[in-house]
Structure formats: structure tokens, C-alpha cells
């Protein structure tokens, strides 16, 4: 009457697969450089304000996704309020630059300090708990930040902050600067993933108890990952503030956090090139499919389920270097 199946082996997110010629091509280190070159060549092909604007937005999105990837992809902690750090960064630099007439670059140290504090405040109590609690707490934290920004006088209430100085003079130069900063951030995330700390993060993701047993201080590793993610998000917030020059609480909703998560999941959790690809797809797709705008988030939701069931490793899966040797 009751047929029990043999227990399936748990599926791992970064499953190992034999290499094909195609995947060897994608593993090549020149792919990243080629991608950067293509990104830098775009303005020479098409430099209208509109193109520059969506391309800059896409670049900032890539930075956000590579930051979230440190938390979700490398360490396996689900953060559903990532837009909060984006908001903290954007608001900190926005408030400082408009109140004290500072150039945007001068606010960066303050932004780093504030996002680290925010990361510790939210991470320290919750990272000791089960990982699924973290998901909801970060979701609540995202809402807290948004509602707080909506209610406080210093953040300008619902209308937000305007008149934030730009990073550069024109849209094209802004695009170049953004792409370069984002490229550095992506390389940084990738290097972090290959470092000793990054290996510890992946160990925590695969088996926290085993990691603890072999001497990895899991709590500290998780907190480090969380703070790194927060700083990446905060710096992306500075870029965002410089690009749009006016920020309001509506830019930092749960939808935004979920969209960044979608990019990470679609591209491949833990895979830096995959996440970059995912972020580009997710941010440019709505521009191409304007007619389907009403169904956009419905499609996102269904896509999340399908990706998790059919291809949990994402479009461009992570491949661990250790396994290939």
C-alpha cells in the first residue's frame, strides 16, 4: 500500500559534473576580461542617455548580485533583505553629501563603517540560529529599514533625498567609472571566494557541523560573509545614489531584494561568472519585454521554482577548483 522510495542522495548546489568542451571554454580566465571589454565598448556603439542609463543600472545590479552571492552562494545563508544594505549605503552617502556638501567619494569611508555596523547588528544575534530563521529576520530587517527611512525627518520621509551630487559629469563617463568599480568589486568577490576564508564559507554551506568539527569557527565565518555582503551592498548604494541623484524609500522594497536573489539563483549560486550573467539577464530582460511588465514578477516566481527543481546549480554552475586537480 505504501511504497517507500530509497532515500535520495541530498542534492548539492554546486554539484560536480564532468567537463565538456563548452564548460572548459567558460572556465577560461579570459572570459571575464572579454566580458569587461565588451562592457567598455558599449558606449562606442550606442551612447544615448537611455542606453547609458540602463547599462549603468545593470552594472550596479551586477555589483549587488556579486555581493549577495558571497552570503547566499558561498556561505549558504539566505538573505531576503539585501536591499536594506543597498539603502543604508545610498542613504548614508546621500545624507552626508547633501548636508555637508561633500563629494560622493568622500562619503565612502563613512558608508563602509555604517554598513559594517548594520551587518553586525543584524548578523550577530541571528547567525547563531538556524539558517531559515535568518531568512525571515533579514526580511523583517529590510522592512524596518524601509519604514524607518519613510518615517524619519533626516531621511526626508516618503519623498526621500534629492540633489545628491553625481560621481562624474556625464552619463558616459559615469558609465565607465561604474563599470570599472563594479569590475573591481566582482574580482574582489571572486578572490574572496578562492581565499582561505572563502573555502571556509563553502565548507559551512556544505556541512556546518563538519566544518565546526574540523576547527572552522563557523559563527565568525558566517558573520564575515554577512559583513562582506553588507559592504558590497552599501558601496553599490553609493553608486546608485550618484547615478539617480534622488533616492526614496520606494527604491528599496522587498521586491528589489528578491530580484537580486533571483539573479543569484538563476546565474548559479556560488559561481561568480554565473551571478554576473544572471544579474545582466535579470536587469536587462524587463527592458526587452516591456509588454509583459504585468507578468514580470509572476514569471520571476515561477522561474525560481523551476530553476530550483530542474537546475539548482544555475545557468553557469560553480566548479570547485579543488575537485578538478
Amino acid at each position: 500500500m505504501n511504497q517507500t522510495k530509497a532515500p535520495e542522495a541530498p542534492r548539492k548546489i554546486g554539484a560536480k559534473q564532468p567537463q565538456t568542451r563548452l564548460s572548459k571554454l567558460f572556465d577560461n580566465r579570459w572570459v571575464g576580461l572579454a566580458g569587461l571589454l565588451i562592457a567598455l565598448l558599449v558606449p562606442f556603439v550606442n551612447a544615448t542617455d537611455y542606453t547609458m542609463s540602463i547599462m549603468t543600472t545593470a552594472a550596479i545590479f551586477v555589483m549587488l548580485a556579486s555581493g549577495l552571492n558571497i552570503v547566499v552562494g558561498f556561505t549558504g545563508l539566505l538573505d531576503l533583505g539585501y536591499a536594506a544594505f543597498f539603502a543604508v549605503g545610498a542613504y548614508t552617502s546621500g545624507i552626508l553629501s547633501t548636508r555637508f556638501d561633500l563629494p560622493l567619494v568622500a562619503t565612502v569611508p563613512a558608508v563602509i563603517v555604517v554598513t559594517v555596523i548594520a551587518g553586525v547588528i543584524i548578523g550577530a544575534p541571528t547567525l547563531r540560529l538556524r539558517s531559515d530563521y535568518l531568512a525571515i529576520v533579514t526580511l523583517g530587517f529590510g522592512e524596518i529599514i524601509r519604514i524607518t527611512a519613510n518615517n524619519l525627518p533626516i531621511t526626508g520621509g516618503p519623498s526621500g533625498i534629492y540633489g545628491i551630487p553625481g560621481l562624474t559629469d556625464g552619463p558616459v563617463s559615469l558609465y565607465f567609472v561604474t563599470v570599472l568599480i563594479v569590475a573591481i568589486a566582482v574580482i574582489g568577490a571572486s578572490r574572496l571566494g578562492r581565499s582561505r576564508l572563502g573555502r571556509a564559507m563553502r565548507f559551512v554551506r556544505e556541512d556546518e557541523d563538519a566544518a565546526e568539527a574540523t576547527g572552522v569557527h563557523t559563527y565568525r565565518v558566517k558573520l564575515a560573509a554577512y559583513i562582506a555582503g553588507a559592504v558590497w551592498g552599501g558601496l553599490a548604494g553609493v553608486l546608485f545614489a550618484g547615478q539617480v541623484s534622488a533616492i526614496s524609500p520606494n527604491s528599496f522594497t522587498f521586491l528589489y531584494s528578491a530580484t537580486v536573489l533571483m539573479a543569484v539563483v538563476l546565474g548559479g549560486m556560488g559561481s561568480v561568472p554565473g551571478v554576473v550573467l544572471g544579474a545582466i539577464i535579470i536587469s536587462l530582460l524587463p527592458e526587452l519585454l516591456r509588454d509583459a511588465a504585468d507578468y514580470r514578477f509572476f514569471i520571476f516566481g515561477v522561474l525560481l521554482i523551476i530553476v530550483m527543481i530542474v537546475r539548482p546549480q544555475g545557468l553557469w554552475p560553480a566548479r570547485s577548483r579543488e575537485a578538478l586537480k
Partner: protein, 297 residues
């Protein structure tokens, strides 16, 4: 003062109803069903559809009709929960927890924006309003209908508790919560029991949805998002996976919110609720009535 307590208990009973489904599903398969709040929204909309199809309802008939609609909605929302489990969660049983959580987020999005595509982005006005004679009890103003709604909520919760503690079905659920593979060796059809758990939890959320629609008078496709978060908070306060604890948590959260709103102002209500959540997770992560859970390797 008494009014604040009353409002808190009233809202808290909604939270408790929604939180119960959360807690049951979590207790049995350790999945945070993010889409649970959206089942509440689905309940409100399916009640809306039935009531609209009926046309006008005379004032005298409001309550009986509402109860009938409640029952119908519970069945349809329950079935929706079963379908959700079958389509989105069952294929991933045994997958890493992260995958399940992400799937749940996807399911939540799909339900919310699927409903938006069906019924449009604007809020709908509920065809039945509960506005009747007000009574004065200990200086608090409350309506007869509020009392009936609370009564229904209490009946549902007590019924659920009996079901879980006294019946064969409940014993099967508790067995699976302890150890799914051994339960299946003992002849329990694990998948079927999980399906029925989803049915029950979703039906309760659907009932809460109809009640909220009739009480607040307005529904929209995002109404489940916040209540899902609040329900989780309630479940954590009381002790997730523990049924009496979850009910208590709902009432406590309702009261805390009611007083918090009074002291801090309405715009800080949600911040206050999440602050309480974070505080609880830091100080007493097992909740008021939850027992200590140790993670097994």
C-alpha cells in the same frame, strides 16, 4: 486601556490563525512556507469571488452567509495549499534547505503576482461589511460580529489542537515530525499526511483571510506579505512547531502591537513587531512554550 487589550486580542486571533498553519508545516517538515501569507490572501479573494457571485446579501443574513462562505473558502484554500505542496515542495524533498526556502519565496511571488494578473492591481472592496450594534464591555467598544469572529477563531484553534493531540491523524503528524523515515516504516503514508497537513494549515489561513476581508473591508494582492511575516513572528514568540504556543504567540503579538502602536504611533507598528521578533530570537529563540531543539547531525 481595555479597548487596547480588546483590539490586541482581536488582531492577535487573526495572527494566531495564520501562524498555526506556519507552525504546523514547520513542525512537520521543517519548511518555512513563505507562501503561507499568500494563502491567506487567496482565501480573502476566493471569499470575495463567492460573495460577489451571490450578489447582495441582506443585513440580517450577513452572519450565516459569511459562515457558509468561510467553510467554502477553507476547502478551496486548503486544496490550493495541497497543490502548492505537490507542485513546488514535494519534488524538492531531501534537497538542501536553501533550495526549499528559495522555492518558497518563488511560490509566494507566483501566487501574489498571479493573483494580480487575474484580478488587477487595485484593492477590492469586500461586499460584506461587519458593522453592527456595539456593546460596552468593561469600557471597551466591541461589535457582536467581532465577538462571533473571535468565537470562530477559537473554535478552529481548539478543534485543531484536539485533532493533533487526540486523533490517529494527529499522531501520524507528530510521528513524522519526529522522524519521517521511521514513520514510513511503521506504515504511515508520509506524503499523504504532509498533504493533509498543508490542507489544514492553508484552510485556517484562508478562514483568517475571509475574516480579515470582512473586518477591514478591503483586500489586495499583497495583503498576505505582511501578515505572513507577522504570523512567523507570532509563531517564534510562542515557540514554532508548538500549537498552543503558537496561539499564545499570536495573542501576545497582537497585544504588544496594540500597545506599541499606542505608545509609538501607527507608523512604527511594523518596526516594533519586527524589533520584538529580533529580540525574541536573541533572548529566547525557542519561544515562550517551545522546547529546546538541538540540531542533529
Amino acid at each position: 486601556m481595555t479597548q487596547l487589550v480588546w483590539n490586541g486580542l482581536f488582531v492577535g486571533s487573526f495572527y494566531a490563525l495564520v501562524a498555526l498553519g506556519y507552525s504546523m508545516v514547520y513542525g512537520i517538515i521543517k519548511l518555512l512556507n513563505f507562501a503561507h501569507g499568500d494563502l491567506y490572501m487567496l482565501g480573502a479573494f476566493s471569499g470575495f469571488a463567492v460573495l460577489s457571485a451571490l450578489g447582495g446579501v441582506s443585513a440580517a443574513m450577513t452572519l450565516p452567509v459569511l459562515l457558509a462562505v468561510l467553510l467554502l473558502t477553507m476547502v478551496s484554500t486548503g486544496l490550493a495549499g495541497v497543490v502548492l505542496e505537490r507542485v513546488a515542495y514535494r519534488p524538492l524533498r531531501g534537497a538542501p534547505r536553501l533550495s526549499l526556502l528559495i522555492t518558497a519565496v518563488g511560490a509566494s511571488f507566483a501566487i501574489e503576482y498571479g493573483m494580480r494578473a487575474v484580478s488587477g492591481p487595485d484593492p477590492r472592496v469586500y461586499p460584506v461589511r461587519l458593522s453592527g450594534t456595539t456593546l460596552e464591555v468593561f469600557g471597551a467598544r466591541l461589535t457582536l460580529q467581532q465577538l462571533v469572529l473571535i468565537g470562530v477563531a477559537v473554535v478552529l484553534m481548539v478543534g485543531l489542537n484536539l485533532l493533533v493531540t487526540k486523533t490517529r491523524e494527529g499522531r501520524a503528524m507528530r510521528a513524522i515530525a519526529l522522524d519521517p523515515s521511521t514513520s514510513s516504516l511503521m506504515g504511515i503514508d508520509v506524503n499523504a499526511v504532509i498533504s493533509r497537513t498543508f490542507f489544514l494549515g492553508s484552510a485556517l489561513a484562508g478562514a483568517a483571510g475571509v475574516m480579515a476581508g470582512a473586518y477591514y473591508g478591503k483586500i489586495d494582492f499583497l495583503m498576505g506579505f505582511l501578515i505572513g511575516l507577522k504570523a512567523f513572528t507570532a509563531a517564534v514568540i510562542g515557540g514554532i512547531g508548538n500549537i498552543p504556543g503558537t496561539m499564545l504567540g499570536g495573542l501576545v503579538l497582537g497585544l504588544l502591537e496594540s500597545f506599541g502602536t499606542y505608545w509609538l504611533g501607527g507608523e512604527w507598528r511594523d518596526v516594533f513587531a519586527f524589533g520584538v521578533l529580533i529580540l525574541f530570537l536573541t533572548v529566547r529563540p525557542t519561544g515562550l512554550l517551545g522546547e529546546r531543539v538541538t540540531e542533529r547531525v
